[in-house]
Symmetry: C2
Subunit: 459 residues, 2 copies
Amino acid sequence: MALLHSSYKQLEEIVGKSNFIHNIEDRICYAYDATGQTYCPDAVIFPKNATEIAEILTLANEHDFYIIPRGSGTGMTGGSLAIKGGVVLAFSQMNRILKVDKDNLIAHVEPGVITGHLQAFVEDMGLFYPPDPSSSDISTIGGNVAECAGGPRAVKYGVTRDYVLGLEVVLPTGEIIQTGVQTKKGVVGYDLTRLFVGSEGTLGIITRIILKLIPKPEAVQTMLVVFDDVNTAAETVFAVRTLSITPRCIEFMDEASIQCANQAVPLGLPAHVKALLIIQVDGSPYQIDRDMERIQQLCYAKGALRVEVSNSSEDTERIWKARKAISPALYMFGKDKINEDIVVPTNRIPDMIKKIDALRTASKLMMVCFGHAGDGNIHVNIMLNKDHSSELEKAEKVIHEVFAYTLELGGTISGEHGIGITKARYMPMEIGKVELALMKKLKTLFDPKGILNPGKLFL
Amino acid sequence: MALLHSSYKQLEEIVGKSNFIHNIEDRICYAYDATGQTYCPDAVIFPKNATEIAEILTLANEHDFYIIPRGSGTGMTGGSLAIKGGVVLAFSQMNRILKVDKDNLIAHVEPGVITGHLQAFVEDMGLFYPPDPSSSDISTIGGNVAECAGGPRAVKYGVTRDYVLGLEVVLPTGEIIQTGVQTKKGVVGYDLTRLFVGSEGTLGIITRIILKLIPKPEAVQTMLVVFDDVNTAAETVFAVRTLSITPRCIEFMDEASIQCANQAVPLGLPAHVKALLIIQVDGSPYQIDRDMERIQQLCYAKGALRVEVSNSSEDTERIWKARKAISPALYMFGKDKINEDIVVPTNRIPDMIKKIDALRTASKLMMVCFGHAGDGNIHVNIMLNKDHSSELEKAEKVIHEVFAYTLELGGTISGEHGIGITKARYMPMEIGKVELALMKKLKTLFDPKGILNPGKLFL
């Protein structure tokens, strides 16, 4: 890293003195993400455009120092952490919505745009950007693209990948490239666009994103479905998915999640509630009335205790506030969190819930499950004190069992959080040797000197 | 190719004598595709599974001969042509629908399944596979994935890429790999799945495809909108796209296309019709009645001569039969066809139509336009006699101008047909030098000896 220090002057020259920091008080703010782990970068730089980033990467290649791109640091797997030191590239100055083309349902944005800002901006124009990670009030579109963020609405609308039409990217070697198209269709050459989506900042620095938008749904309705048994809730999720209706989302909370949510936003639920679903449908007002009725009937038929249809936007907002509060509120159960992000086929959710129950009983660990059940994506959280090595060891064994069972059911170990540093050692459980070797070769092709976001994905 | 001949015995051993042909009468049947160009392969082989294909590719690497994967040969850009000789790999024996999982809305299929067969099979179960290339009665899913086929329904449902969750692929070097997931979400490692989608059979041989399905829409309605002016039709397309309704398709036909369609299936249209749109909406019966009414009103407001709502499934079938007949019927205007596949932003369709009018007048060439106007994807066809070199030269100049204007409008030179051999020389108009070099490096990474589908994409 001696060479990094000798590059400080050049880095300052590229972006200007005020856009480069290396004093400890400032750079410590860029050491965290949602994993709770901290790695302080050697410096933080705030580029304003692709040209500056190209110069920075060229310099990093010459002088062998690491570059770590970072949105808002809301990642769940450590993708933005400077685990080997180096220079964090922060996008707070590249946060412009460059263009929203209402005629063609397309937006051009810089990576530092806050997802929630973009959503609000386009909704005011009668348009809709469907991907909605729970961190959308804070997370950036650039981070969402790098991780291929999902969120509750993926059931109906798909994930970030499905909305990225084209990109501007600075390659690790310093060239600026354009990928994809500005139109709804396009098949010219290899799909570099989707190769960058979900590559966790390891293949290039995204500097401009062309997003597909859709017309804003006319209306939305929300229901809260309450169960006195977690398995009945899990079976109901699957039953709803066999209707010809595709809800906008089907969120699941187990007992402990409800406790977390309730603490943040009192939901006024009876004490014996063991699980709940938030089901949302959108479309034309007539259509959704009809859909809501059918879903409601089905929920009662499957054994729901109560179905509460939200009657006002305040009501709905309260429900979502509660849902989004779970993740941060989890710390009431322990100072540390192991947060997993499995996906199983929706008809195997009941099996997975039973498995987790058995593991909880056997291990006596505090395990909390919630998530986007509509597409089988369950966030399994273990709350613990990592300082107690026996607890940690037990938790790691449990996680291993959860992953093994997930794969046995035909699932995947990450639906939307990615691999980063926290899951790198588990990746070989899902990805074969040849496939992993191929991925590593791709990394080397794009980043021959390994300067970009080191230590992520691969061990 | 001496080495190829010496491999015949080994190839026969791998697949069995009856699954390997090299007599001219048989292999000539595998020399064609929809481009009208012919290149006779040295041999044709009919593998039954990935293991056999792995052995074939290993042998091809050892003995330096070419392998060309081929579905039904309906490609529009020469992707399946053995332009440098070699062994065509035909998938007629790998045509099983392996599994349709109604509970999880997923299908596993072999690449040789006819797209239309899969559509009918899942529709009988109340499910829906949306991508619908016009060749769907003949084309294979494997070919659709390799080219990232589109079709009319892409306006609402997206293209083949959006339905491929995972793949089994034999790499050119003979390893069998699994990519992607069997679930609706998944972000573990680089997105190899989408890298293979649309790679035109140059990066690997797809041997199994995991597809996402959706519930079958309850009802569909179709309208035929008739115009006495082509520009009004083009402006109407764009106007419909600004409604909050997303139609299932918006197909456009100019005067010459109508003549072609009418010849195949009499549509009973008045003589002065200059353009027409086929607009289809799907959803619940109530919803689509309402959508149809709004679209109809808008069409009249924009200046449509007449809107005919199809009243029976026979009626609708007749309309689609006419639409699908255009491409083959084009030969009434000339013995050769140059078939292009541009996409422009939908609000620039009127500009593109005017440009083509001007080029038609100036060049006196027979130019026919039709296509998936709803997402800006227009098939521009020039009908000519290629033996007349002056005609061909003129046509090539016109194509160049069409492409240049497409790119000027922010479009792409191929929406769904790919590059293959026919567009390889135009690719540098859209793809930059660095991007093209990167794609070539990817090709070399996957296929170091260049044995797989040579001469495609890159010149």
